[in-house]
């Protein structure tokens, strides 16, 4: 049975994102992402595969705050890939994802340097999970050690498990069957995930003819797999 090629795409509706941070914590829980200490956070070494960026616009009292959930954009032409000397970060032609192979990484951090979105995180130390927090670690995801780079994978372990199940049941993957942890938990439904190759999928429907869509740093030519939808305007009579 030939496996379909999936163009995994995440759509982020900035109008709906409330900045609550559920996605941030869900990602930590699903992917064994360590929490660093206060001192390390001060040094800029906090590791949040998914983060909410808050931008201010204007000045008081006409001030606005904008939330942008930011995770690895899974670029089709990723700047982080060609610079790895040991081929630890590479592109999956099958899933159209940017992969990080942990055991190959030697920690040059060139990929983090080249990444314009700054969504790659380096393990400066061996992550410490005080017992019995180790019981919570997800066995489907490698626990990284010091010297290894890591980043959002669109919960590739969930993608693979779903594909495996679908293969065993001899059926194609259904839309909405694969949900990364962040997408699954988002209360306002700001995150939508799916296969852009499938015309009937939610992401395809959401994006077709949508004037609100844009990609981050599009002018760099990275071709991200994450599409953002601009905030809207309400028209009220006064």
């Amino acid at each position: 049975m030939t496996l379909a090629e999936h163009k995994w795409t995440m759509v982020v509706d900035l109008d709906k994102c409330t900045g609550c941070g559920a996605c941030v914590v869900a990602c930590h829980a699903e992917n064994n992402v360590p929490i660093v200490s206060e001192e390390q956070t001060i040094q800029g070494r906090a590791m949040h595969w998914m983060r909410i960026e808050r931008y201010w616009e204007g000045s008081y009292p006409e001030i606005k705050a904008r939330f942008i959930p930011l995770m690895c954009q899974q670029c089709e032409r990723a700047p982080c890939e060609p610079v790895c000397p040991v081929y630890a970060t590479l592109h999956s032609e099958r899933e159209h994802l940017n992969l990080q192979v942990y055991n190959r990484c030697v920690g040059t951090r060139y990929c983090q340097n080249n990444d314009p979105y700054k969504v790659r995180f380096f393990n400066f130390f061996d992550p410490i999970f005080d017992e019995p927090l180790t019981q919570q670690l997800n066995p489907d995801v490698t626990v990284r050690s010091a010297g290894v780079m890591e980043k959002c994978t669109f919960c590739v372990q969930r993608i693979r498990r779903a594909e495996e199940r679908a293969r065993l049941e001899e059926r194609p993957l259904a839309d909405g069957e694969v949900l990364p942890a962040c997408v699954q938990t988002c209360p306002p439904g700001a995150l939508v995930f799916g296969d852009l190759n499938d015309e009937a999928s939610a992401v395809s429907q959401l994006l077709s003819g949508n004037a609100r869509q844009f990609k981050l740093l599009e002018h760099l030519g990275t071709e991200p797999s994450v599409v953002y939808l601009k905030g809207g305007t309400s028209y009220v009579s006064t």
Binding site: S37, T41, R51, Y60
Partner: protein, 728 residues
């Protein structure tokens, strides 16, 4: 051949030995032990997870959860897609629940303490602990007091109530900082006054087209964060491309304020005044459809709009604009926020906002419909007056035994409430907390309860929405530590107390639950037999009816106008020039999240700071004070003083400062301890409650500076550089 010297020989030998040893070295993880089950659970596959349904207890909302369990370990929590409240979604704190279960600082078993406050706990056996509790309760008779929190399970509260009634002790108190900062007691009172029901109000956000939120941070930890988050998503994408319009009126931009279409920085304490001014403008117009006129004339109070403009800092033109927007909407909704609940005369303040809803026909308000679930007990939050009464009883020596479950009053309440003082007059204090928090450290005996993922129970969903629901709780793993369920502890020790034993005849909590839950009858899951009803209750994560009951009539019962005054603030304006704005941290909530590293280490949504406390100050004010980001300042109120580093925050009134609640723990585990400051130390008590929304402070720079643990980089922000990366 050259002769080899002894030194060389030894060197070569050592090298050879090293070589031999090295080649023999193996990766120590090569030899791994595989331990199979002795008796496996039925239908368990190795490497395939089982999902168990339960209810989250990180806040009183009671979202349904499902927990991924593999080989007896809980790996991930998700929202329960079947639960009518959250429909598969979950907030950050719900996701962090696994760190409550597997927290390294949980007490491994029951302990006793001979010197209160020392933290030197001596481990004891459960037999000893139970016997001690039994002796004390038997002697105390009616001199027992019970203090529970807003997340204490419904069934445990029920048992506590029965116990108290049987022994002649007063009803248990339900009070913690979460319920206080959310204004839950005031909202429940208001609900009773307006709608005749004793529940938390429900707001139909998704159907409204214009929302006027008077300081209600409904996208934050207020009332029901997940459900309101979902409703907000629907509010923004209504049918035919309609997008709801949100106005937020508050002195400091919360995350709800960040999502507002129009954010109005009103002066603290003027929410009710503004609401009355809007009603006045609508009545005077007259604005809105014809059917509004009568109600507007009756309910609008006599108030001078321009004086409200002066007091609130909103120009008259903007107030008029607001009134027009509200009146022109088809389904407008006004939401009274928690700051209103914290003022003296809170009932009147809330009524002033509800008047707008009454004028508009209150389509945005929905009552939790009646159902079999109404018969089950849901903690009704105690007003602060009850808390003060208990503290006075303790002070007077009327309380022999104090039982504390699900609350941390020593941390929650400010020094002005004198809790520690009162505890000193109670001969025996028992805490049921799984971790030694500030209150546990003042206890004589700690009988740790199991955490919610290891517990049985039920939770009546409140606020309820279209489908009334009762969430179920079941252990998803075998208990990690030697903790026992408090309900079982109570049932065990009361067996020897004749009055109580008659009132609590169950052998254990499961027997109690199995008697209560089937009385709900078949819900959406069906079933008739008691055993089937019980197992469906557990399997689906709760009980709810198959279809939504018809909505009850819902116009607030307001027959005349109210006259809300501006509240009195603690502290003289000259000496204390700034208003203090306290808010619950989105991640740490009222401080109970501080022991979970996922919550401590994740960035705060508005400031991106983790692990620390900060004080938000307007850029101009900071300039006037001569402070920059990271400079530590003293914040002093009439009631107390704290220190906090500055965070320059552009979306706050210049004469207001804001401090998040949640840090400043002295105990509660390694992640919480000795971190930041507790701003509740600044709060005084009034006749009606805690003055957390009506306190003035002064700021003094200390000259100290700390590095701020923020995720963002603030270079260039204060200089006003335009952010070119954000299009539109």
């Amino acid at each position: 051949m050259a002769k080899i010297s002894r030194r060389d020989f030894i060197k070569m030998g050592a090298a050879g030995l090293l070589a031999t040893v090295l080649t023999g070295c193996q990766n120590p993880r090569r030899w791994v032990t595989l331990e199979p089950y002795v008796i496996p659970p039925e239908e368990q596959l190795a490497g395939v997870a089982t999902w168990y349904a339960s209810t989250c207890r990180q806040c009183p909302a009671g979202c349904g959860i499902i927990v991924r369990v593999m080989n007896g370990r809980a790996l991930k929590i998700e929202g329960n897609p079947k639960h009518p409240l959250n429909k598969g979604k979950l907030c950050a704190r719900g996701q962090a629940g696994l760190q409550v279960l597997y927290n390294p600082d949980r007490l491994p078993g029951p302990v006793q303490q001979t010197e209160r406050g020392s933290g030197r706990f001596q481990p004891i056996s459960w037999e000893e602990g139970l016997n001690t509790l039994y002796d004390r309760l038997r002697q105390a008779g009616s001199g027992t007091a019970i203090w529970t929190g807003s997340t204490t399970s419904g069934h445990l509260l029920d048992l506590f109530e029965r116990f108290a009634a049987a022994t002649g002790a007063p009803s248990p108190l339900v009070f913690d900082l979460y319920s206080e900062l959310n204004g839950l007691a005031a909202l429940e009172n208001a609900d009773r006054a307006f709608f005749g029901q004793n529940r938390l109000p429900t707001y139909n956000l998704e159907q409204a087209d214009v929302i006027l939120s008077f300081g209600a941070d409904f996208l934050g930890p207020w009332l029901s964060q997940v459900r309101y988050g979902m409703a907000f998503g629907a509010f923004r994408s209504q049918s035919l491309g309609k997008r709801g319009y949100l106005v937020q009126l508050e002195p400091r931009m919360s995350i709800t304020g960040a999502k507002a279409d129009w954010w109005l920085p009103i002066s603290p304490g003027t929410e009710a005044l503004v609401a009355q001014a809007l009603a006045r403008i609508i009545a005077d117009g007259p604005l809105g459809p014809a059917e509004w006129a009568t109600k507007a004339n009756t309910l609008a109070s006599e108030i001078d709009v321009s004086s409200v403009a002066a007091a609130s800092g909103i120009p008259v033109t903007e107030l008029e604009q607001l009134a027009h927007i509200f009146a022109a909407a088809t389904r407008p909704l006004a939401i009274p926020g928690n700051a209103l609940a914290a003022q003296d005369g809170q009932g009147t303040a809330i009524a002033a906002v509800q008047a707008l809803n009454a004028i508009a026909g209150a389509d945005g308000l929905a009552l939790s419909p009646d159902s079999p679930a109404t018969s089950l007990l849901k903690p009704q939050v105690s007003p602060f007056g009850d808390v003060q009464a208990l503290i006075e009883r303790m002070q007077a020596g009327d309380v022999q035994v104090l039982l504390i479950h699900g609350a941390n009053p020593v941390y929650d309440l400010p020094e002005s409430a004198r809790v520690v003082d009162a505890l000193a007059h109670v001969p025996f204090v028992v805490s049921f907390g799984p971790i030694a928090d500030e209150t546990g450290v003042q206890a004589d005996l700690v009988l740790p309860d199991r955490t919610y993922l290891e517990s049985w129970g039920y939770d009546v969903t409140s606020p309820g929405f279209d489908l009334p629901a009762v969430g179920s709780q079941q252990p998803v793993v075998t208990p990690v530590f030697d903790a026992h369920s408090t309900a079982d502890v109570l049932l065990t020790v009361t067996r020897g107390i004749p009055t109580a034993a008659a009132a609590l005849p169950w052998s254990d909590e499961v027997a109690f639950l199995k008697e209560i839950i089937p009385q709900l009858g078949p819900g959406a899951a069906g079933g008739l037999d008691t055993d089937v009803l019980w197992s469906r209750f557990l399997q689906h994560g709760g009980w709810w009816p198959a279809t939504a009951p018809p909505p009850a009539p819902h116009t607030p019962v307001l027959s005349q106008s109210v006259q809300a005054e501006a509240p009195q603030f603690q502290g003289d304006e000259q000496e204390y020039p700034y208003f203090l704005h306290l808010y619950m941290s989105d991640l740490l909530s009222d401080g109970r999240g501080a022991d979970q590293p996922w919550l401590q280490g994740s960035p705060d949504p508005m400031t991106t700071v983790a692990w620390q406390t900060w004080v938000e100050i307007h850029p101009q004010t900071a300039q006037k004070l001569g402070v920059k980001d990271g400079d530590v300042v003293h914040i002093t109120s009439p009631a107390g003083e704290i220190e906090a580093p500055v965070y320059i925050y552009p979306a706050i009134r210049p004469n207001t400062i804001a401090v998040p609640v949640g840090q400043g723990h002295t105990d509660y585990g390694r992640y919480a301890r000795k971190r930041g400051s507790n701003p509740m130390d600044l709060v005084g008590t009034t006749s009606e409650g805690l003055a957390w929304a009506t306190t003035r402070v002064k700021i003094t720079p200390t000259g100290k500076k700390i590095a701020q643990a923020g995720f963002e980089n603030k270079a260039g922000v204060d200089e006003g550089f335009i952010n070119e990366a954000f299009p539109g």
